[in-house]
């Protein structure tokens, strides 16, 4: 399901605004990891890393799954695709809008030609 909200998009930006969280994404791009792994890798407390992962999870950039005692994190590609979709939607809106502008420009050009013939500028 494509579920796009402004909140979601903002959450992505917030999530991506932090160097550690970008590092975590990069790391998860290579392999799934547990929160403990990530905390170690980024020299951080478990609590600190949990918070970062929470932000990423909320933004849909990461998904986590608890198996036994271990919470495994992996990249939530869905959100990244949505980012691309956001750009595409933005483009579609502007394309529709500027397509209309095109018509207005054509019309003005036509008018100018007609007026130009009637009265020399």
């Amino acid at each position: 399901m494509v579920q796009y909200t402004r909140t979601g998009f903002d959450a992505s930006f917030t999530a991506l605004s932090d160097a550690t969280r970008r590092g975590v994404l990069e790391q998860l791009g290579r392999a799934d990891a547990s929160i403990t792994d990530l905390a170690e890798k980024f020299h951080m407390t478990l609590t600190g890393m949990k918070k970062h992962v929470g932000v990423l999870e909320q933004a849909g950039l990461v998904t986590t799954e608890k198996v036994g005692r271990v919470r495994t994190c992996r990249l939530g590609l869905h959100r990244l695709e949505e980012e691309t979709a956001w750009i595409e939607r933005y483009r579609q809106l502007w394309d529709a809008r500027l397509e209309e502008l095109d018509k207005v420009v054509d019309e003005l050009k036509r008018k100018e030609r007609v007026d130009g013939r009637k009265k020399r500028k």
Partner: protein
């Protein structure tokens, strides 16, 4: 992009490109088959502006459009979208005839700044629209300007996109 030669008439429609320059900026570009003077006019005369700013596909209607296009002048657009209404307003910061327009969005304390440039080459005009948000937080807060209106719009476009199917990545 602007180094490309524009000598041949192109029957194909001009392409709109969108690029996110940073987490605070979005840039839209497109070429128009007309002089900058005319394209600029269409951006600065309300009676022309309202003919294209709200295409039918947006599913919104423009209730009013006031534009006082001069430095320090205000604009205000009011939209209806189903039962809800939205206003889009701000101030013109720069008005350089036929080449540059800068305005702010003032729906919130941290609105975006939009810069539109018109560059004429061989009878065609390259339009570049740049939207800058003052901070990440401002973008987080989004409720501003174009983004606000567009997100409203997207809610409607979403349905269409879903109908169009997997063309946006199959998610």
């Amino acid at each position: 992009m602007d180094a490309r030669r524009e000598s041949e008439p192109t029957p194909m429609k001009n392409r709109t490109t969108v690029e996110r320059k940073s987490e605070r900026e979005v840039v839209v570009t497109r070429t128009f088959n007309g002089p900058a003077r005319i394209v600029f006019e269409a951006w600065t005369k309300p009676e022309l502006f309202r003919q294209w700013w709200v295409p039918k596909s947006m599913g919104m209607s423009l209730l009013s459009c006031e534009m006082d296009v001069r430095v320090g002048g205000k604009y205000r657009l009011e939209f209806a979208h189903g039962d809800s209404q939205a206003a889009f307003f701000g101030t013109y910061k720069e008005v350089t005839p036929h080449s540059r327009l800068v305005w702010t969005n003032e729906e919130s304390d941290e609105g975006s700044v939009t810069t539109v440039t018109f560059e004429e080459k061989g009878g065609k005009t390259l339009l570049v629209m740049h939207e800058l948000y003052p901070s990440k937080e401002a973008l987080d807060a989004a409720g501003t300007g174009a983004a606000y209106v567009m997100v409203e719009t997207f809610a409607q476009l979403d349905e269409l996109l879903v109908t169009l199917g997997a063309s946006v990545g199959g998610s």
